[in-house]
């Protein structure tokens, strides 16, 4: 009798285990975006979402959900170039590439490479540079593929803890890796990193995982524990609650940025490197908050 029961349990476990591995549901990302431009400038007349010199996109394709953020390098303003044009055009181009299916979900750096190539095919002589971070959820394989160039990035939160995060890529202080198109003759002087220099990673995700993709305006002002505190309030996976959480994170970061006495992660890093500063870092803030859910048409 007992052996039958134990045998039965074994069979049950094997069968159920087998079933869950062949879990055929497609996943999707429920994503909301929010942000603030520094000096309260919002991108007017630009399609897609722009917050100051930051830009982002959210795109759906049959095989994958794709997000991207790009932080336009503000230094170009001193040379008469609008820094938001490059990042906005890059993100719009990547969005179009995804919508037309000209990408491979497991190879997000391809989106960056193609997007950058398309920028060079524009009749308009674009100038400028930006960081870029692309996050792709492969619906069928439940894998998240990411690529990050520069100091924007993402966090993956599961069960209230950070399980994956991107690394910042900096050449030196406040000079992240960046894609750029420079005026002719300045090739040696202007930083221009290749899309191939981006960090790539791939990992499995589960239903309910939260992915936060943002520019450095968020991460420089809000440490992880504050972000996690806000994310705890996200209980359901419908769009409105995701948007609400994204808004609260962005707003909090925005408030902290202008607090002169707050020891922000940016200030902390500066202190660690010998610069005696305090306070937040006023910057464009872009937050894309996603939660992994089942795919519905």
């Amino acid at each position: 009798m007992l052996s039958v029961l134990s045998y039965g349990r074994l069979v049950a476990r094997a069968v159920l285990g087998g079933l869950s591995q062949t879990d055929g549901r497609d996943y999707s990302l429920i994503t909301a975006s929010y942000g603030f431009g520094k000096d309260f400038r919002k991108g007017i007349l630009k399609k897609g979402m722009c917050y100051g010199d930051d830009a982002c996109f959210i795109a759906r394709h049959r095989t994958a959900d794709v997000l991207g953020v790009a932080d336009g390098v503000g230094g170009w303003r001193d040379y008469g170039v609008d820094p938001s044009q490059f990042s906005a055009t890059l993100m719009r181009t990547c969005e179009r590439l995804v919508k037309e299916g000209r990408f491979t979900p497991s190879h997000p750096v391809g989106i960056l490479t193609s997007g950058y190539y398309e920028l060079l095919q524009n009749k308009v002589p674009l100038l400028g540079s930006s960081t870029a971070c692309i996050v792709v959820l492969d619906r069928r394989s439940h894998q998240l593929h990411t690529c990050n160039l520069g100091d924007s990035g993402f966090l993956v939160v599961r069960g209230g803890e950070v399980v994956h995060r991107s690394d910042e890529q900096q050449h030196y202080f406040n000079t992240p890796f960046q894609l750029s198109i420079a005026p002719p003759g300045t090739e040696g002087v202007v930083l221009s990193d290749s899309p191939e220099a981006a960090d790539n990673s791939s990992f499995d995700v589960q239903l309910g995982d939260i992915i936060l993709t943002a520019t450095d305006g968020l991460f420089d002002n809000m440490p992880d524990y504050m972000i996690l505190q806000e994310l705890k309030k996200l209980k359901t996976s419908n769009y409105d609650s995701v948007l609400q959480t994204a808004q609260s994170i962005a707003k909090q970061a925005h408030d902290l940025a202008y607090d002169p006495n707050y020891m922000s992660p940016f200030a902390q890093f500066a202190c660690d490197n010998g610069l005696n500063v305090r306070g937040g870092k006023p910057d464009d803030i872009t937050v894309l908050l996603s939660i992994v859910a089942e795919y519905t048409d």
Partner: protein, 607 residues
């Protein structure tokens, strides 16, 4: 225990099956009709955007890009209702009459029917075959280029091979020029046809337009089943329907029992005069005339009437039989235009080959643009049957295997060679340049498989010293080294297209060297070379007085002063494209236009 187990299994299985139905993502077709399973044959109109671009003759953009390329015509509009020069549209390679004015342009063929004026085409596949009721084209920049819309009976997405392919003209019109360059939705009244179609072809002519026309999307409206009413529609009898089959070219013998005196006074006319009169007839008319009487049959089949033969206007109706019937008359053929013909199985392996073998001896010019029936074997036949060939056009034969081009080097008398958008590779082009030393006109635009253009340029400078025009549009790795060698070797160059060649840097002095080396220069395109600067323009002004066409789109480094110098120094200048040159605004353009009214100064816009 076991019942628990089976319950568990059953529940899990049910969950899997529920989420197992993956929603098939709707492509761009928007089905208005309801109840596909309904029994009633209610014909509701179906509206579809193009699913896929299947074929086209040219485009402005780069292969593998989605900027200004023909693939943008599929799917929903990206730009409309905005107007402007946007990357998300479909743009053809040329516009206006500028390319016809160049030395590299082929001579027009005699007997071109007046109704045929198509310069470019694009073929679109839709999801569902329907009986078309309307076709709408979203034109977003300089509209007015569409001259013909045709529908095909063959379903391009079916696995079956193409049999009995028929093309019907849905609408035909003259090229127009709309007064403003702004976006419009073009929806001409189309003919009703008696077969369902999901393959449309648009033919365009932009010769009246002031700039590149740009198309955004195409809608095909139609019904899945024809209603009874359609059967009562009076068929629109088009004169072209009468010449529906080239079987008329078959000489059936006819009633030749009359004696010669029954021909009227025509036989009194000198032979040459009758020949002259007949030389004004179009080809179908000539073939019909041949069936009237013995005298005219003799005249119409005289090989002297067929020294030039253009079958491009009849591409939709041509097949092996047509070639077979013309074969006996074409023994003195010198110029042959088979562009756009023979696709979808119209020409078999033997048809084209036997025609060329019979008629190729004196052939001097062969136009085979967009001929997808070509393969290596047929190119070999061309190289053997046409030893005296001087002009060969293989533009957009993009399905031709790279190996096929090696046969071209046997045509040592070649003077004009067009390989735009072909897959020719490094070894083949070098071999051609080694043997074809009489080349005057060479087009290697968008030949992406050529690895090193510097070597090609060097070879040209060494072997093809009489080169008159060279098109290196979008050649991706030509540097100043190659360009300097080219201009020092090919001093007779009159036309040079270096558009979208990103690796040429003005700081190396290569453009100034170019200006100094080519006094005969009439056309220079430096499109989207962001390094072109004032000193380059001034050097052109100093050394190239014959300059007629100049394109310096997209540079930030050229100002009004150097342009004025150029316009003053080059009195023959007709075209100056300064689009997206940030130092030149509309005020400068207006000022220059008023000072130099003979020059078309182009400034494209995106808003």
């Amino acid at each position: 225990m076991l019942t628990l187990l089976s319950m568990f299994y059953y529940i899990c299985l049910r969950r899997r099956s529920r989420s197992g139905t993956r929603g098939e993502a709707l492509n761009s077709r928007r089905a208005v009709e309801s109840g596909q399973r309904a029994v009633l044959p209610v014909s509701v109109e179906v509206e579809q955007y193009a699913k896929e671009v299947l074929d086209f003759s040219s485009h402005y953009g780069s292969e593998n890009s989605m900027s200004y390329t023909m693939w943008n015509l599929a799917g929903v509009p990206n730009v409309y209702p905005s107007s402007g020069d946007f990357t998300q549209t479909a743009v053809f390679r040329t516009y206006g009459k500028w390319w016809e004015q160049c030395a590299s342009a082929p001579l027009p063929f005699r007997r071109t029917p007046e109704g045929f004026n198509s310069q470019d085409y694009i073929e679109l596949g839709f999801e569902e075959p329907v009986y078309p009721t309307a076709v709408e084209v979203f034109e977003t920049y300089y509209p007015g280029a569409i001259v013909q819309i045709l529908a095909c009976s063959h379903n391009p997405f079916s696995q079956n091979p193409a049999t009995d392919v028929r093309w019907e003209v849905l609408w035909s019109g003259e090229p127009t020029k709309v007064l403003t360059p702004h976006a419009r939705q073009f929806s001409p009244k189309i003919k009703h046809i008696n077969f369902p179609t999901n393959l449309l072809r648009l033919e365009v002519n932009s010769s009246l337009l002031d700039y590149y026309t740009e198309l955004d999307a195409v809608i095909l409206r139609g019904v899945k089943e024809r209603t009874m009413l359609a059967l009562y529609k009076i068929p629109h009898i088009d004169i072209s329907d009468l010449s529906d089959s080239e079987e008329e070219l078959c000489d059936a013998g006819g009633p030749f029992t009359h004696q010669r005196t029954g021909n009227g006074y025509f036989d009194k006319l000198p032979y040459e005069l009758i020949q002259l009169i007949l030389s004004h007839l179009t080809l179908p008319d000539l073939c019909r005339l041949a069936q009237t009487c013995k005298l005219l049959h003799q005249h119409c089949c005289d090989p002297l009437q067929y020294t030039q033969l253009s079958l491009q206007p009849y591409w939709a109706r041509l097949n092996d039989a047509s070639l077979g019937h013309l074969q006996s008359r074409c023994t003195l053929l010198q110029r042959l235009n088979l562009s756009w013909t023979g696709n979808r199985g119209a020409f078999t392996l033997t048809g084209f080959s036997s025609f060329l073998k019979a008629c190729g001896q004196s052939l001097v010019c062969l136009e085979l643009s967009c001929c997808h029936f070509l393969n290596e074997a047929r190119l070999e036949v061309i190289s053997q049957a046409c030893p005296g060939l001087q002009e060969l056009n293989l533009s957009s034969c993009d399905r031709l295997h790279p190996q096929a081009f090696t046969h071209i080097s046997k045509l040592t008398h070649l003077r004009r060679l067009v390989l735009y958008r072909t897959k020719i590779e490094q070894t083949a082009i070098l071999s051609i340049l080694t043997f074809c030393v009489e080349l005057r006109h060479l087009n290697l635009g968008s030949c992406v498989r050529i690895d090193d253009y510097d070597v090609v340029a060097s070879m040209l400078a060494a072997r093809c010293r009489s080169l008159c025009s060279l098109d290196l549009w979008r050649c991706r790795n030509l540097t100043d080294r190659g360009l300097n060698e080219l201009v020092s070797g090919c001093r007779m160059l009159e036309e040079l297209d270096l558009g979208w060649c990103p690796t040429l840097q003005s700081s190396t002095g290569c453009f100034q060297q170019l200006a100094r080396s080519l006094p005969r220069l009439r056309k220079l395109f430096l499109t989207a070379n962001r390094t072109v600067c004032d000193s380059d323009i001034e050097e052109l002004a100093a050394w190239c007085p014959s300059l007629q066409h100049l394109d310096i789109l997209g540079t930030r480094l050229v100002g009004a002063a150097s342009l004025k110098k150029l316009l003053q120094a080059c009195p023959k200048l007709l075209l100056l494209d300064i689009s997206f040159c940030s130092q030149i605004d509309m005020r400068v353009v207006q000022e220059l236009s008023s000072l130099f009214p003979n020059v078309f100064i182009k400034k494209s816009f995106t808003q």
